[in-house]
Amino acid sequence: MNFSVITDNLYFLSTGLWTTVHLTVFTLIGGLLLGTPLALARASGHRVLRLPALLLIETIRGIPVLMLIFWIYFLLPHLVGAVPAYTAGLVALIVFNTAYSAEIVRAGINSIDHGNVEAGRATGLNLVQILRHIVLPQAFANMTPALMSQAVMVYKTTSVVFVIGIVDLFRAATIVNNREFKPIEIFAFVALVYFIPCTIVSRYTRRIEIKRMIRHGTFQKA
């Protein structure tokens, strides 16, 4: 094993990693921004809002990400004209993440005691105020662990955008390997770059969950 292949190509690999990182960040932000209204529609009492939201979420969740990427990649130009592969990949990831984020936000909303909403209504708050001051703050606090798990999921999922030619970390690695022929070293390095941040975040998530269980009295020492 000779890891000089990594240091020799560090610049190009880091440009790939940078692409992976901003794809991840934009996907998380986009998913949450679009997922929150979708979750509210899904959780709403109006059938006109609830059913389309449900259909949309379940459809997106039922399709492989790769399929979604190909769909967006070939569909987007017909809808909005020319877009770079990066945009198509990002839109596909956001669509994917929106459905998952919506379910997380919905679970967060459902986790709130209905009495709080009633109390808000009793004190004369309107719907928007109830959402803003009572429902959403508690919901977001409750779903922090799930959102962090979703961040890990998105970071890993970006690795399939290479199929439409986006030079993310994974594709940068295969390009380097094409010239250097060191698959073991290169893919071991790539696996680590995915593994380390994911593990840190998932360990941290677990700690938050355990703390919360202790607070709620549902934690038992194994």
Binding site: T59, R61, G62, I63, P64, V65, L66, M67, F70, W71, F74, L75, H78, L79, Y100, E103, I104, A107, S111, P145, A146, S149, Q150, V152, M153, K156, T157, S159, V160, V163, F170, P183, I184, F187, V190, A191, Y194, F195, C198, T199, S202, R203, T205, E209, M213, H216, T218, Q220, A222
Partner: protein
């Protein structure tokens, strides 16, 4: 949208689509079976009262949950000397089982410890308590998140296309390459994924409600919610 759909193309390429569909089904079934077996084993280890077993379970979950599936498949195929189908099935099995192990672990841990003690008090051994009291209840709690993971497995079979397996998603791209008629093929494949996913989801729903009536479990909503949160990971 200025695209004219030309549906006969699906009939023209039906052999490719059908071949892809059956390969996807094959990967799905083998992937689910292998991940269930591994998931149960490492889930029980993770919930063990033995320190080393718990550590083993945790390491397994972290290692296989925190690396992308495509990287695992590439490693197995290009590095470890497995052929394409072996790599796909092992890759899927390792990947999904890490999520399942976590679900099973928290499912077992969600059962109040008092039940263990009650079991021992009535003279049952640890294995008997596990088999007769804990696992049936845990099984009930874990059905919804397990269903989610089974559906994830179905979708993740498509990653096998990157190691040259001509499954359903691959075939839509093959048809696109031959005829530039990707939309028709993608529509058919998407409907196929949704249909299979729908059938699996409905099956799990029926199973859960059957069990619900039978067990009348005392498991609180909170515990199910906890297992669900972990499942979302």
């Amino acid at each position: 949208m200025n695209y004219e759909f030309h549906w006969p193309v699906l009939w023209e390429y039906r052999d490719l689509l059908l071949e892809g569909f059956w390969i996807t089904m094959f990967l799905f079934v083998t992937g689910v079976l292998s991940s269930l077996v591994l998931g149960i084993v490492f889930g029980i280890l993770g919930a063990s009262h033995l320190r080393w077993a718990r550590a083993l379970g945790e390491i397994y979950v972290e290692v296989f949950r925190n690396t992308p599936l495509v990287v695992k498949m590439f490693f197995l195929y290009f590095g470890a000397g497995f052929d394409a189908y072996e790599s796909a099935i092992i890759g899927l099995g390792l990947h999904q089982s890490a999520y399942l192990a976590e679900i099973f672990r928290s499912g077992i841990q969600a059962i109040p410890r008092g039940q263990f003690e009650a079991g021992f008090a009535t003279g049952l051994t640890r294995t008997q308590v596990m088999r007769r009291i804990i696992l049936p209840q845990a099984g009930f709690i874990v059905i919804p998140p397990t269903t989610t993971q089974v559906l994830e497995t179905l979708k993740n079979t498509s990653v096998a296309m990157t190691i040259s397996i001509p499954e359903l998603t691959f075939q839509t791209q093959q048809i696109e390459a031959y005829s530039f008629r990707g939309f028709e093929a993608a529509t058919a494949a998407t409907l196929a994924y949704l249909a299979v996913g729908g059938i699996v989801g409905a099956g799990a729903y029926i199973l859960e409600h059957r069990l619900n009536r039978k067990t009348k479990s005392r498991v609180t909503k909170d515990m199910t919610a906890m297992a669900n949160v972990t499942a979302a990971a």
